[in-house]
Structures are given as structure tokens and as C-alpha cells.
């Protein structure tokens, strides 16, 4: 559905995007992940035909965005970083105008506007001026605008930026619902967003693609070992020694010590499930098993290790849930 080949964008001597290539299949959600200033917005602006690339090729819905821009744009919906609303128009007037320039047939216009307003839940604000909308509503009207002509491809630049937690969850849910009918690229610098919404991730840093994979594979790829967090009440026994003796365990580190229990991080051989053996060993040696859970390497860590020069020290802290 979307094919990007060797895209490069230079501003004078500054290279914003360098040799970026990726593909997105029909109906897929691709996450575009990178720190601020990595080239996410630039890539998206090139894909939407807002600006031309210095080199390379981009094909959206079967049309080259440089050769046949109008055809490509007809099939693309775009939500820029700031929703492009006219403050002095009401939501309905705004969507009517957008539907006209996006080429929605006059006969379908009313119905289409009604549909998108319900879909993104802004129908209750239909006659309010865009200037008077809250940030969350502005974002949703921006999304309505991108959807109005029922495009094959949706390109969303940081769709959840600046929203409150409830709105973020709603927006993610909405994006997931849309994935069936549309192919979606969304950019973000918030990592959990990618693991929650996207099927595939392109990590971009300093204008270059550093990784393309599924969130799960990325997690697995970075660390071969899987760690377990085990909270044990030692009852006077040497809990660390008991844990080390379990078959398949490659390392035991004390992570936190409390008044009546000790938390351990237990590393095991790759691909081996040691949960049963661990539980058995703790309990049969007279200790109390208070908690046991896999410690997943968070995308944050993957991200940091891929985008920073020196690899960060792996800490035994809990995965960050932002």
C-alpha cells in the first residue's frame, strides 16, 4: 500500500532524512518511532505530498507522490502535528470545506460528514467554532478531516500528543478500529503507544532507519535471555542459593530487599520456561513465594539502546509503564 524507497531530504547542508526505505501492507498499522527531530514529520510530509524529497521514491496507494500527486493525495488522509483547523469556522462548516477540496461528491457530502463526526465522536460539537474546542476535540476534528474522503491510507503525526490519559486511550482505540479499513502510519515518541497500537515499528534516529520489526520481535531481539522477577520470603533460608540451584537458571541478582521479603531477578537460558521449577524449588525449600512475573524488556530500553551511542546499563528495575 505504501512503499518508500531510499528517501532522502536535505535542507541546504542539513540532512533531515537519509536513505529511508520501508513498506506498509494493506490494513496494517505501522508505528514510526523516534526522538524529537529524528525526521518523522519530514518523512510523513514527503509521503503526503506536502514537500518533495531530495532523492528517492514514495508510492502511496499505487501512485507515485511526486509524479501523480493529486491521485496520491486523493487516497491519503493526513493529520499533521497540529490539527489544521480554521478557528473561525464551525466544525460542520470546516468539514464541509474539507470534503469539497478532498473531492467528496456533493451527493454524499452530508452523509459522509455525519458519519465521520459520529466515528470520531465530535457530533455534539458540530456547531461550535473550532477556536472554542478543547485540545482533545481539536485533535478529533483533525482526525475527522483526515477521514472525510475515506482514504486508503491514513498518516497521523503524533495523534495523541497533548491529550489527557483518557483521551489517549480513546484515540488509540479509535486508531485500532480504523486499521481494518485503512492502512495507517502513525508517528510517536511515546514507546508504549507503539507496542499497544502498532503491528510493525520503524525506529528512526537522526534521519536514518535503525530498525524495522514487530514490537515483540524487537523486544526479543535485543535480549536473548528472559528474566523473571521473584519475590521470596526467605524464612531464614538462603533464598539466592535455592534459586541458583534450579536447572536452567543462569544468574540470580538481588533486586530489592524489604523487611520480610527479598526480590530477585532470575535470568534463565533462552527459550526455556522455568516458572514451574522455580515455584517448586522456593516452596519445597520452606520459603514463601510472594510474587513471580516475567520481566519484559521494555521498548524504552530497546529504543535507548538503538538510538544512543553507548548502550545504557541494563538496570534491574521494573519495566516502565507510562
Amino acid at each position: 500500500m505504501i512503499e518508500v524507497q531510499h528517501l532522502t531530504k536535505r535542507y541546504g547542508r542539513f540532512t533531515a532524512v537519509e536513505d529511508v526505505s520501508f513498506r506498509v501492507e494493506r490494513g496494517e498499522i505501522l508505528g514510526f518511532l523516534g526522538p524529537n527531530g529524528a525526521g518523522k514529520s519530514t518523512t510523513m510530509r514527503i509521503l503526503t505530498g506536502y514537500m518533495p524529497a531530495t532523492e528517492g521514491k514514495a508510492i502511496v496507494a499505487g501512485f507515485d507522490v511526486f509524479e501523480q500527486p493529486v491521485e496520491a493525495k486523493r487516497r491519503t488522509g493526513y493529520l499533521p502535528e497540529t490539527p489544521p483547523l480554521y478557528p473561525d469556522m464551525t466544525v460542520v462548516d470546516y468539514l464541509t470545506f474539507v470534503s469539497k477540496i478532498k473531492g467528496v461528491q456533493a451527493s454524499e457530502r452530508k452523509q459522509r460528514i455525519k458519519y465521520v463526526m459520529e466515528r470520531v465522536r465530535v457530533a455534539d460539537m458540530a456547531n461550535r467554532l473550532c477556536a472554542r474546542l478543547s485540545k482533545g476535540y481539536k485533535q478529533r476534528v483533525g482526525l475527522a478531516q483526515a477521514l472525510i474522503h475515506n482514504p486508503d491510507v491514513l498518516i497521523l503525526d503524533e495523534p495523541t500528543a497533548g491529550l489527557d490519559p483518557k483521551q489517549i486511550i480513546e484515540t488509540r482505540q479509535l486508531i485500532k478500529e480504523l486499521a481494518g479499513d485503512h492502512t495507517i502510519i502513525l508517528s510517536t515518541h511515546i514507546l508504549p503507544e507503539v507496542s499497544q497500537t502498532c503491528e510493525r515499528v520503524v525506529i528512526i534516529n537522526k534521519g536514518k532507519v535503525v530498525a524495522v520489526d514487530t514490537p515483540d520481535n524487537l523486544t526479543g531481539r535485543l535480549h536473548g535471555t528472559v528474566s523473571m522477577f521473584v519475590d521470596v520470603d526467605p524464612n531464614g533460608h538462603d533464598a539466592a542459593a535455592i534459586l541458583s540451584r534450579v536447572a536452567g537458571v543462569t544468574g540470580v541478582t538481588e533486586a530489592e530487599r524489604r523487611a520480610s521479603s527479598i526480590g530477585f531477578e532470575v535470568a534463565s537460558e533462552p527459550g526455556r520456561d522455568i516458572r514451574r521449577e522455580l515455584a517448586q524449588a522456593v516452596v519445597s525449600n520452606g520459603c514463601g513465594l510472594l510474587e513471580m512475573r516475567p520481566m519484559r524488556v521494555s521498548l524504552e530500553e530497546i529504543f535507548l539502546s538503538l538510538t544512543t551511542e553507548e548502550s545504557p546499563a541494563h538496570t534491574a528495575e521494573e519495566p516502565v509503564n507510562a
Binding site: 503526503t48 493529486v70 491521485e71 489544521p84 477540496i101
Partner: protein, 255 residues
């Protein structure tokens, strides 16, 4: 064409959604009324003092009343028209809505023409208000309609030239004040460019007189449609729109 009209309509609506349209039209109508009233009084006085037996030429309402009014109007346009174009592109760039326009399946030219027609329509509405004053003349006097018609054609062409140049200037900045001042200065320069040639004779006098935007208006107010003047204004309009297109395209490359 449908896209052009959609954008023109949106532009016109946005003028009326902001105070710009009301301020511009209101103040213009007020000042026009003032010029009109003053010149009418002068005309009536002059008419009463005139003695046909002295061999004086009879006063003509088109030449002796309307023409001076319209000359004042052209000066008024110098101040009013930059306000119509100052926000056309600059505001879209500042608020980011330019991203919507440039990523919609419309061409740059459709956007430019839409914006131009939108501004021209507002200008048309502004001129239409003054037709009331013309109607009054027809009720109480016998003015010739032809010079009035050519004057309005001249005003449209002159104003259209200003608007197209203003449109171009508004693509160069995101600040409306900067757009207004720059547009005003360029207009004023185009107005007085003939002064450059007034100290010499021959070639440069002709060139600067030809370039001066106001030299071409006079014939229209006399009731004459000279193709030279029509062509001058149409060329200027085309040049303004062409520069706008170039500027939008360049902006695109620079990002």
C-alpha cells in the same frame, strides 16, 4: 474549477467571520461618502456661480464631480487593499492550515486562483456599496452611464493588480503586519515610479510612466477603454499570481 470556487468561498466567508471585512467595507464606505458629499457640494456651488453668458463651458457631472471622487478612491485603495491580502497566505502558514491545503488533491494554481477570486469578491462587494451613491446621481441628475461603467472596470483592474501583488507578498511571511506594510510600500512605489522619469525626457520618462500603476487609470475615469491599459493591468495581475505560484513552490522545496 470546483476546487477554485470552494476555496474562494471559504476565503470570502473567512473575511466576514473576522472583523476585516466589516472594518474595510465600513471605513471605505464612510470615506467614500465623505469625498462624494464634499465634491457634490463643490459641484453644486460651482454650477450656481457659473454664468453661461460668459462663454464658460457647462459643468459635466462625470468629469467635474465623479472623476475627482474616483481619484481620491484610488488613493484610498492604497491603504485598504493590503488589508485584504495580508492574511491570505501568512495566516495559513502561521496556523498550519497550509498543510491541509497542500496535502489535499488540489493544485497550487487552484489554491492561488481561489484565494485571488475570494479577495477580488470582497473588493467587489466593497465597490458595490458605492453603487448606491451612483444611483442617487441617476435619480437627481443625468450623468452618463458609460464613463461610470469604465471607471468601475478600471477600479476592478487596478484593485485586481494590487490584490495579486499582495497575495504574493503574503506568501513571503507569517506575519500579517509585515505583509501589510510591505504590500503598502510596493503599491506606493508602483504609484510614484513615474517620478523617476519626471526630471528627464524621452525613453525613461516613457518607461517609468508606463510602469506607474496610476497613469493607466486616468483614461478609464474619462470613459475610455484603451487596450494598452487593460493589458497593463492584466499583465500585472498575471505577474502577481505567477510570483505567488513560484513562491509557494519554492517554499515547498525549502520545507
Amino acid at each position: 474549477m470546483r476546487n477554485v470556487l470552494a476555496i474562494a468561498q471559504k476565503e470570502l466567508k473567512s473575511y466576514f467571520a473576522s472583523p476585516i471585512a466589516y472594518i474595510v467595507i465600513g471605513l471605505f464606505a464612510l470615506l467614500f461618502g465623505y469625498f462624494y458629499a464634499v465634491m457634490l457640494q463643490y459641484f453644486v456651488r460651482a454650477g450656481m456661480n457659473m454664468n453661461p453668458m460668459m462663454g464658460q463651458q457647462a459643468l459635466n457631472i462625470n468629469q467635474d464631480m465623479l472623476r475627482p471622487v474616483m481619484q481620491n478612491v484610488t488613493i484610498l485603495l492604497l491603504f485598504v487593499l493590503p488589508a485584504m491580502t495580508m492574511r491570505t497566505y501568512s495566516e495559513e502558514k502561521r496556523s498550519g492550515t497550509i498543510e491541509l491545503l497542500l496535502t489535499s488533491p488540489v493544485t497550487d494554481w487552484e489554491i492561488i486562483l481561489g484565494k485571488f477570486i475570494g479577495a477580488l469578491s470582497l473588493y467587489g462587494v466593497m465597490l458595490a456599496v458605492t453603487l448606491i451613491h451612483m444611483a442617487v446621481l441617476f435619480v437627481y441628475g443625468q450623468p452618463e452611464w458609460k464613463p461610470i461603467a469604465t471607471t468601475y472596470l478600471g477600479l476592478l483592474l487596478l484593485g485586481g493588480s494590487f490584490l495579486s501583488v499582495g497575495l504574493f507578498i503574503s506568501t513571503l511571511t507569517t506575519n500579517q503586519i509585515v505583509a501589510y506594510i510591505s504590500t503598502f510600500s510596493v503599491f506606493l512605489f508602483l504609484w510614484v515610479i513615474s517620478w523617476l522619469g519626471s526630471f528627464s525626457t524621452g525613453f525613461w520618462t516613457d518607461v517609468t510612466a508606463y510602469l506607474s500603476i496610476i497613469e493607466h487609470f486616468d483614461d478609464f475615469s474619462k470613459g475610455v477603454i484603451d487596450t494598452t491599459h487593460v493589458l497593463y493591468y492584466l499583465s500585472l495581475i498575471t505577474l502577481g499570481l505567477f510570483l505567488t505560484a513560484k513562491s509557494v513552490d519554492t517554499e515547498r522545496w525549502r520545507g
